[in-house]
Amino acid sequence: MRVIQQGVSIVQRALRAVGSHGEWLAGLLLMAGWLALPSVGIAAEGTTAGPTEYRDIPYVGSRNLVWIVAQLHLLLAGFVLGVPIFAWLCEVIAWRGGEKRYDKLAKEFTKLLTSAYATTALFGGILLFLLVAFYPKLMNYLTDVFFPSFLLYCFLFLLETATLYLYWYGWDAMQHGRKKTLHVFLGFLLNFFALFIMIVPNAWATFQSSPVVIADGTALERAWAATWNPTWWPINIHRLIANVVLGGYICGAYAGVRYLSVKSPEDREHYDWMGYVGNFIGVFGLLALPFAGYWLMREIYQYNQQMGITLMGGFLSWLFIIQAMLIGVLFLGSNYYFWLGITYRIPGSEGKYRRAMLMMLVSLLLCLAVWMTPHSLVASIEEAQKMGGAHHPLLGVLGVMSAKMTVSNLMILITFMSFVMYWRAGKQDTAGWAKLGKAVMGAVLVLASIAVIVLGVWGYFVPAIVRINYFSTSQVLIVIFVILTITPLTALLLKSAKTTTEMVWGSMPPRAGYSLVLNAVMVILLMTLMGYARSSSRVHWHVYGVMRDTSPYAYSPALGSASLIMAFCTFSFCLLVAFIFWVATMGDKYKVAPGPGKGELPHGIPAMAGGAPEERS
């Protein structure tokens, strides 16, 4: 006690000495003290009987801290792996098509990438230290299994970092001729290494869920067997697409915030256009995401019935109703943004498309209502008695996968058609075959929708394996067929179309900016939700069926308490991203930039996917 009192008096004297900086110093000391807590070995377990298996931290708890840091690292990683994909695509569009605004956009995104990359690495480092400190037994085991891939990961990280520096700092120096080709190649390499940086740690995480352990063989053979586990590639594909979606929507949100704050018409035009591109990329990825998710769930179910039921029918099943709500809001938000675009950017279009928008909205809401209807309903005893159980006799059928899969496919179709409508708005067909072409497109859409619904209903009357392997796959193929048919036909039709109303950028209302921000928040929430789902599906196992969690945290937190952590992670990530954006753009306002010429601005130019090349010139 005397030692503490002495310590306090020393601190007080020091605070008096530093005068006005005392508050800062006290804050720093508090922070340092808190961070140093694990070093004193609080609640270290296993110290008497053998090596330490777990360590804990007071108040927060080791699991919560690792959860938060891991989730933030994952979100940041998703951002830094997703953004280069479309930054590079934008650069390629500018390089091949000669539209400088895409190059400017790509550069702006890459600028955000450098500081985001450092923050991601920082959180990765913190995560690693925390894992080693809190879970030494697990980390020993994982190191033993994956040692070769740890080395590979370090090497990939070096390559990725060097490539990113070259790509960013060489942007202006490699703008023309063969140097530009080299720069584009660097962008490709950046994405190539980024892909491997993602899939290598994915192997570690998926191994924990669906381990493949071989006793014999070299270290390399064991690592390879553990890497090639049943859920590795489903997760790889799912995360790759999700990263593009996250990157797109976050850049959309960035543009939305900037759009709300900028004053000059030029800036409004630019950020309006950037918001459109971000939303477009987000939607583009979102269309494919349910397919990837379905494949992942199928693999999990097939790998282990217990894990599949825990997720889809067990205590985590309610989580998927929340997921449906978040995805539904995302679909609604993205479509709403498209529709606002038609109304505000293409003056006079509202009257023409209002009816179609209403029909699409009603269809989306109906689909969402089906998607959000649980199989087992939340009901009071009295209500349950009236229903004859937890299942509603009529609406209970909407609670199973056949219905969910059908409506998710329909929502994808509707969203795609929203985009096509936006694309066609303000144009008049002049091609001789326009009438026939539109009839074909209409027929394809109607027949495809009917086929998706018929397969969905039929799915109730066939064995589950037939539904999963044939009907659901057919539904996906039908939707892909529609997208692959209507996209080129529309492009062909619009090539000769006459622009009746020029697109006016910078005229969107403030709620368009807010909807972009809302979309980004929904995606982040979704990722935090799925992070919890993936970890909780292992229940009380560190490595499913191989290594039990014997810590005091060997229980799954209830959805309610988990949602607090999810919300905290989402909020923290938004703050981090805001900080990164602020840091990355801090220097801009002090530059006396000549400003882009009017000719480079998107004013009066159709969107990336809209209009024919000659209309853009």
């Binding site: 019935q305 205590f315 309610w318 309903l377 349950a384 937890a390 589950a464």
Partner: protein, 238 residues
Amino acid sequence: MGALGTPIILMVAMYAFLKFGLPNIPGSAPLPSSLIFLYLLLTAGGIFMFKTLSGESKDAFWGPIQRFLTGENIGGLQALRYGVFILFPLLVGWQTYGSTAVSDLPPTESRTIHPAPPGEYTGLSNPVPKTPENIMQGKGFYAAYCSPCHGGNFDGKGPAARGFIPAPANFADPTTIAMLQESYLFWRIKKGGVGLPIEGAPWKSAMPRWEVELPDEWIWKIILGEYDGAHQSPRTWE
């Protein structure tokens, strides 16, 4: 208030349909309030989105609400405005009280119908060959042991079914046993309600623990009989 008329009518109509229309469709039942709330929320969201798609429709929609709340040129509605200002907080308070006050009613149910089976049951496959004899035998066992609750028609309407809440499972419903593997049914029949894991609490299942009365082989045969009698197939991966 003209532009507000349609949304109000729509919301009232939707509520009336969910509360009184849908339950009266043959084969239906009253909807729980959680579901009605969910659907009304979607309807309100849709109305909000549609009404704010353009500047004109947004002004027509928000204008009256804004004028009413600010009291600007609303004439005789002033008294109603003050009434709303007084009643709205009271309504919120009443709702909050109602949802947090101690009540003698049992809590709302959110039970997990299909908790995950223990690991030792997940890899099992039916050792009894699917032959007409075994199916017939299974149906016989089913008639003796299961049909009093689950019904002779496998529809969950056995003579004893009315005595149970929740009602016994309806196997003819494509959303029950058709979604599950045979090993899952084996576990549920063998261990019954008392063998259910804690993850799905609160558990309320009157299913007997048949392992004390029936040998495993009979249980597997019952499973064959159940699927055949209910015209369903178990979930498989081949």
